[in-house]
């Protein structure tokens, strides 16, 4: 007897607030249905840090704010058949991209030297090679790799994510009712 291989899902939060992942957890008991039909690969949900297998679906929260984000996103593109960016940060850069109109040096200066609550007598900036380097500007995921689908919302509701995942897994057209894509 052969065991049917379950499709694998990977998820990641780049420059996001984890709100999109919280929303995914909000599918509540349906998580149990989900793990019946899929295996989670690299994801904060199971804390697997590197890809173990090729994945059918990758869910990306957050845009790219640093070189680490870019690197991880490229790994996701390489290892996932379908890459879905979820949430406004992934799609537009979102809140982190608010810094885009301010030169990076000014941002770091405010954060590490001149901000009202900063105590940094030597005035040094973080330079350790292990630390990610910030990008000149925060970019949405589709400026870095090809993104196959995007799910809107900040965050997309649990129901929306559920509908999208089940549609993708059953190879059907996603049909989101009006109330799931109405935001005001």
């Amino acid at each position: 007897m052969t065991t049917a291989v379950k499709p694998r899902i990977a998820t990641v939060s780049l420059a996001g607030c984890f709100g999109c992942h919280m929303s995914l957890l909000d599918i509540d008991e349906r998580l149990l249905d989900l793990v019946e039909i899929v295996d989670f690969d690299r994801s904060p949900i199971d804390d697997i840090k590197t890809f173990t297998h090729r994945c059918a679906i990758g869910l990306v929260e957050g845009g790219c704010a640093n070189d680490e984000n870019v690197h991880v996103l490229e790994e996701f593109r390489e290892n996932c058949d379908i890459l879905v960016s979820i949430g406004e940060c992934a799609r537009t850069g979102g809140i982190p991209a608010l810094r885009n109109s301010i030169p990076l040096a000014e941002c770091l200066d405010e954060a590490y030297r001149s901000g009202p609550t900063v105590y940094n007598p030597t005035g040094t900036l973080p330079t350790d090679e292990e630390l990610p380097l910030l990008l000149n500007r925060v970019v949405p995921c589709h400026e870095v790799v090809r993104i196959d689908y995007h799910v809107m919302g900040c965050p997309p509701s649990a129901e929306t994510l559920w509908q999208v995942l089940t549609a993708l897994l059953s190879n059907e057209k996603v049909q989101l009712p009006y109330e799931l894509i109405k935001y005001d």
């Binding site: 640093n66 070189d67 680490e68 870019v70 690197h71 490229e74 390489e78 030169p103 990076l104 040096a105 770091l108 900036l125 973080p126 330079t127 090679e129 630390l131 380097l133 910030l134 990008l135 000149n136 500007r137 970019v139 400026e143 870095v144 790799v145 090809r146």
Partner: protein
């Protein structure tokens, strides 16, 4: 004191069909056609304000908002960009302290982009007010702006006037003819007036017969047999008929009509008179593109001379009943107005929207009268055919394409300018004549024509091989063809009248895909999508613009497939080194992901 706008309307007898002239004058005088002015015009003409607004909003040289007392319009065509238009634009931006597409605070200057102004052989070029300024260099800009600031008058720009009639007191422009090769039909002397006398002595049917057997085909791009067009109009019932000369010359890289109008204007006028005799027309219109306003006074004087000589007006050449006069209709910056039905709409004072055919203009054209529209060069040929005979004309060129063709050559060559070649001339001979020895591609017929690669340089200029309205643009091996394709698609997006979806939307989608390909985001499916879109546009667009505007893409996909395939193969477009440049400087070390990036890039 009466309102100047009312005076202008009175001057045109409050004739709704002269709306173009009225709004052009208001624009010239006030630097805009404000909503208030539109309301006055509508009241005077007895039409709705929205009709005036719809015309004003259609044309690039008309604007509800101020465009500057001295509008500076820089040509942003491909050829000008190759010649350094971007640097010239930067220089103007610096001097005027405003970005392209805006007006200075004092309202004195406006800085705008405009498509080809018909000076591609002397690029980069601009229109300052009505005045063409050619061969612009960034270092000339500060002085130019200084003079304009002081004088507030473009005509104060010191200039060495060009050759021939460019030095005529009514022209005085720095434009050069750059006539590099004259042929026996268009660019050689002709006995002024003689063709009109002959036509007056001929029976109209005889003229139709002569033009028909000469095998003359339209020089404006569509290559329709001229004799047949004239015959349709002659046979069409109608008390009044119209002859229109299409001097809109908007196809980027085409400037041969400009040279004909400068040096051979009489030949053009005589061709129109001959046509009038042939079809029985009493009214002629020379539709002159707004960009050639600087030639208008001169052309008016040419018409006046013909009237003075009894060759235009009533009883032409002494023939009772042969009454025909010509007026000049100015355009106002719209490529699509070169399309004959759009041109007719424009002559009637409307938006330059193309119309459905049939009915063809020969049946129902200007003000619903039977109308023929022909290119400037076609009329020149007609004059020469009446003088030299159909047989002589047929002895030139090829069986399918008798006669000669004017080519306007620009781009990467030593001798850009106007060349009169017999049909049947191979591109290789053209290349030798223009001294282009590093040509990667030739664009024959402008962006709505086709790109030809080296292997095709043996092909000939002829309607059954490479048809063209005259533009030949040379691109050497240093040029990025896909970038050029993208720029031509921007042109079509800008110029589509927007009436039909395949053209309005198709051009935009093509542009998006080409942009995606250029920046490394192309998908393999994109190539099929481009082909499919191109076919849909060709079949389903209403006028020639949309039917041919995918050609830059389709013909390069055919001739230069590698420029597309290499883009698809490119793995990705994110430049991590550039994206971390600021942080690298602050942290003192580059991104540790860079090396790995390089590995799989």
């Amino acid at each position: 004191m009466s309102d100047p706008i009312v005076t202008i309307c009175e001057h045109y007898h409050r004739d709704r069909s002269r709306l173009m002239d009225i709004v052009r004058e208001v624009q010239a005088r006030q630097g805009q056609v404000s909503p208030e002015a539109e309301a006055v015009i509508a009241r005077e003409l007895g039409c709705k304000p929205v009709e005036v607004q719809s015309t004003v909003s259609f044309y690039a040289f008309l604007s509800e908002r101020p465009v500057g007392h001295i509008p500076i319009r820089l040509c942003n065509d491909v050829v000008d960009r190759m010649a350094g238009a971007a640097e010239v634009a930067r220089a103007f931006e610096r001097e005027l302290g405003i970005p392209m597409g805006s007006v200075t605070g004092d309202g004195l200057f406006g800085l705008h982009w405009t498509p080809c102004i018909g000076m591609s052989d002397q690029a980069p070029a601009a229109l300052i007010g009505d005045l063409p300024v050619t061969r612009l260099r960034p270092e000339d800009v500060p002085e130019l702006v200084e003079i304009l600031r002081l004088s507030k008058d473009p005509h104060a720009i010191p200039r060495e006037v060009g050759d021939g009639n460019n030095a005529h007191p009514l022209v005085r422009s720095m434009v050069h003819n750059n006539i590099r090769r004259s042929g026996p039909v268009c660019l050689s002397p002709w006995p002024r007036g003689e063709a009109v006398h002959r036509a007056a002595a001929m029976d109209p049917r005889e003229i139709l017969e002569t033009i028909g057997t000469s095998g003359l085909r339209g020089r404006g791009g569509a290559a329709f047999p001229t004799g047949m067009k004239w015959r349709f109009a002659a046979q069409a019932p109608g008390a009044r008929k119209t002859v229109i000369c299409n001097a809109d010359e908007g196809e980027p890289g085409t400037f041969k009509d400009r040279v004909l109008l400068t040096e051979q204007a009489g030949m053009v006028v005589e061709g129109m008179i001959i046509a009038a005799r042939a079809i029985g027309a009493d009214e002629g219109i020379l539709y002159l593109r707004g960009e050639y306003e600087y030639l208008r006074a001169f052309l008016e004087s040419v018409l006046q001379e013909y009237r003075a000589d009894g060759l235009l007006g009533s009883s032409i050449a002494g023939l009772g009943g042969f009454d025909f006069d010509i007026r000049i209709q100015m355009g106002a910056g719209a490529y699509v107005c070169g399309e004959e039905t759009a041109l007719i709409s424009s002559c009637e004072g409307r938006r330059g929207d193309p119309r459905n055919k049939p009915p063809f203009p020969a049946q129902k054209g200007y003000l619903d009268r039977p109308t023929i529209v022909n290119n400037v060069e076609t009329f020149c040929c007609a004059t020469r055919i009446v003088l030299g005979g159909a047989e002589w004309f047929r002895s030139l060129g090829t069986e399918s394409s008798p006669g000669t063709k004017l080519l306007s050559v620009s781009g990467d060559c030593e001798r850009p300018g106007v060349y009169e070649f017999e049909f049947g001339t191979p591109l290789s001979s053209v290349l030798r004549a223009v001294q282009a020895d590093d040509a990667q591609a030739l664009l024959v017929g402008g962006p709505s024509g086709q790109f030809v690669q080296e292997a095709g340089f043996g092909r000939t200029i002829a309607f059954d091989d490479l048809g063209t309205a005259g533009a030949v643009v040379v691109f050497d091996h240093s040029r990025d063809l896909l970038e050029i394709v993208e720029q031509y698609m921007e042109f079509f997006c800008e110029e589509s009248c927007g009436y039909c979806t395949p053209c309005r939307f198709g051009n935009e989608v093509i542009l998006q895909i080409v942009h995606r390909l250029r920046t490394g985001w192309g998908k393999p499916e994109d190539l099929d999508l481009l082909r499919e879109l191109g076919q849909v546009m060709r079949k389903a667009s209403r006028c020639g613009l949309g039917q041919t505007s995918a050609n830059p893409v389709l013909s390069t996909m055919d001739q230069f497939p590698h420029i597309y395939e290499s883009q698809i193969a490119r793995p990705r477009g994110f430049d991590l080194a550039a994206a971390t440049s600021q942080a690298e400087a602050l942290a003192g070390h580059p991104s540790r992901h860079l090396e790995k990036e390089g590995d799989h890039a």
